[in-house]
Symmetry: C3
């Protein structure tokens, strides 16, 4: 019976229209054009590469989309156990009528061609959104994104700030900053003013969140104006930063952004724990990893300093989940946010969902986001989550606590949708 019950709850949750609170969708090309767009998702390229497919074959310049897919297919059999490939099969069935259990050297071309035809339909993007029940999707916008040419109600701007916090030493970042703000970043004051202009621009264009990904060794801290900061900025802006000056500049910019989040009443999504380029020879977007030795205690000063800012927090390491649960249980401004990247696999989602539903106020949990680059992934990724959520609701609440199915469903809908609307003011 638990299985049937979970199935019923799952089917009910499947009916709920969604707002996806974090993705990497390009609003000018939200849906895929070929299977290469879909199988080009870093999960497939990195797993195929991990299984032995040379990077050169995957990223060879000038190969056609079909050729690229054909090369990936060679190795997909070796990752057919992965939940990531199960996402692909799910979307292939749902969107393209794929009926086989496996993707093979024999059947992939038929799928390629059938899907290409489907994706060429003029309203493909609309179809995907409708079938996926996606009403709106948050973006990940560069700080200098003009935010024009798309419907910001459907594709909701989110100001991504990694470049500002960590890459002011890069001349390209400084140029983009100057161009976007009209202000050359030469000092604490100019940087502060420029960032203010970015916030105004985003605010005028319907931004609903600010976001950043952070390495395990980063600790936000207030930085006083004065010679120490000026000196560090001078070094970094002249590309002569040392570890200390870089850290100080990052802390200064980060804190400045948090101040603007307060001023502009924006939630600040913290995605904590990624080490970039751990495997520099990896495929595109398949080079980053992590160090589980990070603690939310590093965010103590920040969380205390900005009680008026909501911090939806994602952690990369599953071993950080209990801290996240505990900090969200104590700090009013901490919200648990989805299941990120290396933690976005069913066994970890289940344990993390369970603990969050046991100990974090129901109104402070954003259940899931897709993190997708192409729209077609919303359906299978959210579906994976809904299946797990339904299982937890069935076992822990309906059976474990004698809740009615209706009540359990209400809880599920709150974390799947209601909280997204409220927390991000959508």
């Amino acid at each position: 019976m638990p299985r049937e019950l979970a199935q019923r709850l799952f089917h009910e949750l499947e009916q709920l229209p969604l707002i996806d609170p974090h993705s990497h969708i390009n609003p000018h090309a939200a849906a895929s054009k070929t299977l290469a767009d879909i199988l080009g998702y870093h999960y497939y390229t990195e797993l195929a590469h991990s299984a032995g497919l040379p990077k050169e074959r995957i990223e060879e310049p000038g190969i056609s989309p079909k050729e690229k897919v054909g090369r990936l297919i060679e190795k997909l059999g070796e990752i057919d156990n992965s939940v990531q490939l199960s996402w692909f099969l799910d979307l292939a069935k749902t969107f393209f009528g794929f009926e086989d259990d496996r993707l093979t050297l024999q059947n992939w071309e038929r799928l390629y061609d059938a899907s290409a035809k489907k994706m060429a339909e003029p309203d493909w993007e609309e179809q995907v959104l409708k079938i996926s029940k996606l009403e709106a999707v948050f973006l990940t916008n560069d700080f200098d994104d003009p935010l024009t040419g798309f419907d910001t109600k459907r594709y909701i701007p989110c100001l991504r700030t990694d470049d500002l916090v960590f890459h002011f030493e890069n001349p390209a970042t400084r140029e983009r900053f100057a161009k976007a703000t009209g202000i050359t970043p030469t000092s604490a004051a100019t940087i502060r003013n420029g960032i203010g202009k970015l916030f105004s621009h985003f605010k005028a264009n319907g931004v609903r969140a600010c976001a950043i990904s952070l390495p395990p060794d980063f600790s936000p801290a207030a930085v006083s104006d004065g010679p120490g900061l000026d000196n560090a900025l001078a070094k970094v802006l002249s590309e002569q930063g040392c570890a200390d000056s870089r850290r100080l500049v990052s802390q200064f910019v980060f804190w400045t952004i948090a101040q603007y989040c307060a001023e502009f009443k924006l939630p600040f999504d913290l995605m904590i724990g990624v080490n970039r380029k751990v495997y520099p020879q990896g495929v595109y977007q398949g080079q980053d990893l992590f160090d589980h030795r990070v603690s939310l205690i590093q965010y103590k000063e920040l969380l205390n300093a900005f009680p008026q800012v909501t911090f939806p927090i994602s952690v990369l390491g599953q071993t950080s989940n209990q801290e996240l649960v505990s900090y969200a249980w104590i700090f009013p401004n901490v919200v648990t946010n989805g299941h990120w990247w290396y933690s976005n696999i069913p066994s970890y989602i289940e344990l993390d969902t369970r603990s969050r539903l046991e100990a974090v106020p129901r109104t402070k949990q954003v259940g899931y986001y897709s993190d997708m680059y192409k729209l077609e992934f919303g359906l299978p990724k959210f579906r994976m989550y809904r299946r797990i959520l339904a299982k937890v609701l069935a076992e822990d609440f309906v059976i474990g606590r004698n809740w009615s199915e209706a009540r359990a469903l209400e809880l599920g809908k709150t974390v799947l949708r209601g909280n997204v609307e409220r927390i991000f003011s959508v």
Copy 2:
């Protein structure tokens, strides 16, 4: 069938009279007088605060108990998913005949009044103990507790030593110490002598354990008498401690206490991992959190130096559980002790219980303690544990290893009760 089996085991475990090996009960006011005593438990105030109830509303001086409860009720709907609120509903049903599924703005007053009447009965404390099958409850006594005016067979003294180890710099601590021992703490010798007097006093009054909570960065170490220690003590006792002198003094006092535990044959409960006042604006008792980056390797010197002292160890972080299991599997003097605070939620209790029953000698596991401040919580907290224990016994032992139900039950009783008696010589 596994569910029915688990149910049967659960009902058998429910019959077992308990000795609760760790609580914060005030033996002079063990039971509650109003729902404000019950809902004033920090879990409810901190979760309601986390969900948005201002601290000022919760802690406003002079409000009546009923007013306080009424204010908390406003936010309890937002934490109705929490296991902590399920404890409340369980005790409200058991003790006060509450029959609804939820606590609401509509029904709380009836419950308030009915429960007030019940709690006013002259033998309420006795009733709670009897219904909860609690034969004895360990206390958490300040070092200067006179230990008079209560039955130390029912409310068993436990010498809590946080103040001694960490707060000698505080003049109030030194005054309390001088008053309780007749010795002014001015040197290693006077402190050592005074602590000896405290142990004698506690021993004369039926103490059964010494206990302390420890921050993640603490590492016990033997400290030699000599100018280094004298110098550190001089600084700390004159309130001019630096990090180093404070650490040295804490290590000295801690080690001294461990020596007395050996001399007085007392188990020394170590509760490892709490960072105090991480969120200083939080409600009373809702300000502490943790850093999961702590290791039992920090206790290597201690565990080797005191083979004759039993250390029942609790860890705050669930990610420390495997170390606890492994250290208890290797060190004869390490005992696993309950499920503490942020780890005291079903998903973590289940995983931790499972691993402990798989790899730690059955005689070295203290299954659970209530950690309660008011007697009414013993029942629902132990019941939560019993439910999980019954599930693990059913699945892993009766089904997984073909044990008879009687044998599984015997194992359950050993960790629930038998070990408490033996380890703490009750």
Copy 3:
């Protein structure tokens, strides 16, 4: 049904002949002669010691095997909950016809005598291998093992390198090195040359892997030839090493071994995370523990520098499993390897198996190794793993993803056996 399904898969997996990719078998005395060989496994001595049996009673010189077993039996009742004792009961039933549910003071002698008779049969080793379906077993060979006098197809050499990397300061190691290689270790060049000779010797004798266990604080790094290294070597080889010089020498030797693994095309098994002699008063082999604060980020330089070397990695801490999964998902040369020591208990194996099957290419997972010292343990330890693997295949793949049983079984066989053959070129 899930249970029946899991049972069916388990019975199918039981039919599969195995190659055990890591053990401590002595090929000259692979099987046991008495129960003392079996119950002398450190799991029993350390758990009995942990439960209170004095080391002196366990390790008293000159006691007979039967006396030793009799003493251990006294305490085994207190560890009858442990999965380790369940291994013993399983093998006693399978190999010696033991029919009781518990081992007691009453029935152990009968078992002792019956088993002694069985083990005295001239083909006992053959019988155990056959019943256990073990076709080949990897060894753990000292670097100076002559590798003669046994069938290296059945007992496959594996070059264990802990002594080389960590113990050159020990004169005994240097003597063994000189004797085995004909080269006195006096410099980087002589050590490098000598290690080359060891690799040649092992290669000539069918070695299939190199292996090492590593403490949590070790980070491999390339070490340049030059005065820095020479100076460090001079200190260490004259037994005057400091922490820095020891670390540099260890890094140099480790890196040299990795270079030879590349040259000789050998996988390099890394067993990460053990602290040696944490409890020096513990029984033989029952003194080591760990610090969960270790990260695979410490291996970044190594994994990048040797793309041509396969690194089957075991982690001692369960909290390191997600990093292992993630590094194996990204790095082509990282393979997940079994469930090691303190992580080798069902609750952790299940969670770890689940996450690995969800996110690591199927071809990059070595499901299990026995780590045994005596052949009789292969059967119950692999059986424990098969039971868990069957459960995960049933729940997550057949039920969760609608796979056929045949397909799930194929996945199971790949991680149990196929990958061992391919990865280690057996």
